[in-house]
Amino acid sequence: MAKLHIFASVMRVVLALLALAALGLARPALALDTAVVHKLAFAETSEDKIAAINALVESGDEQAEPLLKALLAGSVQTSGDRVLIINGSTAIDAVTGEKISPVPADASDVVLNNRIRGVLDSAVSALRLVSHDRATRLKAARELADDPRAAALPVVDRALARETDPEIKGLLRIVAASVHLHAGSKIERLAAIRTLASSGNSKTETLLLPLVAKKPDGSWAEPDAEIRVAAQTSLADVRGRLAWGERIGLLFAGLSLGSILMIAALGLAITYGLMGVINMAHGELIMLGAYATYVVQNLFHAYAPGAFDWYLVAAVPTAFAVSGIAGMILERTVIRWLYGRPLETLLATWGISLMLIQAVRSVFGAQNVQVDNPSWMSGGVQALPNLVLPYSRIVIILFAAAVVAGIWLLLTRPRLGLYVRGVTQNRAMASCLGVPTARVDTLAFGLGCAIAGLAGCALSQIGNVGPALGKGYIVDSFMVVVLGGVGQLAGTVYAGIGLGLVNKLIESWSGAVIAKIAVLVFIIIFIQKRPQGLFALKGRAVEA
């Protein structure tokens, strides 16, 4: 089986090479046409430049690809009447291929607008269709299917005749069909419409819509009823497929927001939920975690730029430690003296939050700081033709799940977890049995704050990091903990995910402003129904 596979791929390469050779024989390699290159670089209007690009693509010249690619990358400059492809400090003359070093001082960029860039995109994709590598061809075909243009048609037709891979063939058929849709005979158009029905691309909808549209005077824009009906059917198919992408996208967005809310609230679920401390500085502990990430990032930038992609590995424990230690100091110096006095705790921790904000402002400045994503967290995975799931959000969902699992293990397995639960349930009895309640308090509070630090590390990857970061999350965190039921960790998880989903669901049909208001109203009604939810004197506070 494996041998057969290798044989097939070798055959494919041979075939491709043969085809390429045939192409080369048919068109002897020429130097690029000076007039065309000059038109490309110096033409005043977009029309002229596009004509030059099309001429280059249709010529099938091997030298066209590097020039067009360089143009797309913004590394083509002009100096006098020469057109240069810049490569670092040296340059190559696009027409003669002569090396020029150094780059002339008067060289200036060739500026492209979006229209030209679009044409250029599909031109480069079209040229890549002859590549030997299947992945390259597939990518090129995908790009073309995203943005089908008439100019690419001759190249696509040539590639279709040669292509053996069914997936690439299917994509190329869609490209050809999109072009044939408006120009061509009735049979060609009908075939094109039917081919398009199998596409899940949102562009297809745009292509088909004009066929079923009405003119302002009420008559159909497309006179042929048969084509109209076919287009209607295909459109329904395409829309059905797109709707799935949208639904899954919405679910993912809700899950992502939910995981963020959950991770922000988890620490509070321990300090407020289990210990009964109303910690208004919780948001600022999140902020400390985010700033710890920022500092680690800067250290990596300065001392280990090569390992920059992995700075989060160091940032996560650092954020955990920084916020945890800050929390323990807070507990030892302030909160410990206020157990059982929720109002004073609230005021004291609120004062501490202001002090922390001002401290960060003095050290790092009032402006937001920039936390870069590692390169593996930028971009996203193409789950469906109209759905991209960003890596950063996937990572955060997984991270949040890992943190929940970690806390659950910590509270159920080791002795510390047993102590924390014991002290929460019956402090006097736990104390009698020799549990060092004071130390357990410090450690438990430190743990809650350390988790806030982890949240800060996660948030730094998707939002802004500034001194006011915490303020945006404190209300949300309390909402999640209160909604989930004070004193329950599982409740926080459900409430976080639930609020995220509800928020995104409302947002999708009423906008972000209304969604925020609606969620708040919902919480208010909830507290009206269950007044014991917020600031309930539970656990520790009752006993004191």
């Binding site: 977009s46 990358a73 913004g74 960029d109 500026v111 607008n113 979006n114 229209r115 860039r117 679009g118 995109d121 995203d146 943005d147 949102s202 909808e205 745009t206 819509l209 797109l242 949208e246 996208g249 919405l250 993912f252 967005a253 992502s256 927001l257 963020i260 402002r361 400045g365 009032a366 402006q367 937001n368 920039q370 870069d372 994503n373 930028s378 971009g379 996203g380 193409q382 109209n386 991209v388 960003p390 890596y391 950063s392 959000r393 998707i462 939002g463 802004n464 500034g466 001194p467 006011a468 945006g472 995104k504 947002e507 999708s508 906008g511 972000a512 402003v513 925020k516």
Partner: protein
Amino acid sequence: MKRRAFVKGLALGAATAASGLIAPRILAAEKTVKVGVLHSLSGTMAISETVLKDIDLMTFEEINRKGGVMGHRIVPVVVDPASNWPLFAEKARQLLTVDKVAAVFGCWTSVSRKSVLPVFEELNGLLFYPVQYEGEELSYNVFYTGAAPNQQAIPAVEYLMSEDGGGAKRFFLLGTDYVYPRTTNKILRYFLHSKGITDADIEEVYTPFGHSDYQTIVANIKKFAGGGKTAVVSTINGDSNVPFYKELGNQGLKATDIPVVAFSVGEEELRGVDTKPLVGQLAAWNYFMSLKNPVNTAWKAEWAAYTKRKKLPYADRPLTNDPMEASYVGIHMWKQAVEKAGSFDVDKVIAAVGGQKFSAPDGFTIEMDPHNHHLHKPVFIGQVRADGQFDVVWKTKGPIKAQPWSPYLPEDKGKKEIAVKMTKKT
């Protein structure tokens, strides 16, 4: 010309040397004038406004070095209204009544300007406002050195509708929820109607200040674009722009498919963003850092040197942008007007600002309109480059006159473009 500069330099050098010798006595007798700087240095708008405070201070220093305003050394009074709109009014009142400043340079968001406006009108103060805005305002006490809608929003949308701009047929108007985006979008809606685009092809969406989760909105843009060639007009303000552009990049929305034109995003706002996925996204302004002209080159060099000397956080990558240029021009217009009026008196200065000309870093000698308190400005449409700078892809031939009252709004018909002093009610 060169010789004159040389002579001036000599004179200045001599003066500096002399003042160095007898510094204490001169200092004691030195004449000063206080001016206010009212920009948010913390909160959601700090991303945009902090740098305006710094360019203001640089301009004051430049003027002081050249002999001050009518021989008076400028003493800036810097306050931080902290992106808090009522605090803007409070700080403005403090500047005018306690510090008794001759003029105030400040505000970014229109909501902050609307908040200080009654204070300036009541106390007859003088405000130079350096940011593009929605128009629909003409106060005797304010000079608007940023763009009115016809100098930014309308040309940008016209460009999007042109073939080079992508020939957009549908418009997704996305903004932060306050007066500037709402009014601008209202004007744009009327404008689009006049171009034959119906309400079905216009979608208006707002987010709160500081919003950071743009997943749903970007997904909705994609969905909306299914109905035809779409362009996004963004009036998002402040640090929300960073997560918005990050989300655009992560979800793979390219400018060639769905261009986004922004009215409040410049070089400074893109500092915190990886710009590679954003190449080709558009911004409409009256100045870009990448403009090539001698005034701009000198100005950029002055700013770079200033950031180094003052060890500002952006010294390693000093950027300039449109509101910075407008701030710089505004301060010089005020200086020239004071010198023409021969007095710091607010009424006399206001009468003298109209008609002032200044050779600006945008490459033109721009003029303050004699009547409507707005600058005549050139319009540029720029496209984001991989390095976070902008390439100019479209521009007007020269400065165009501002229309604070939009010709597209029915309620603005017949409004006069003359700023009238508010008479105090007795």
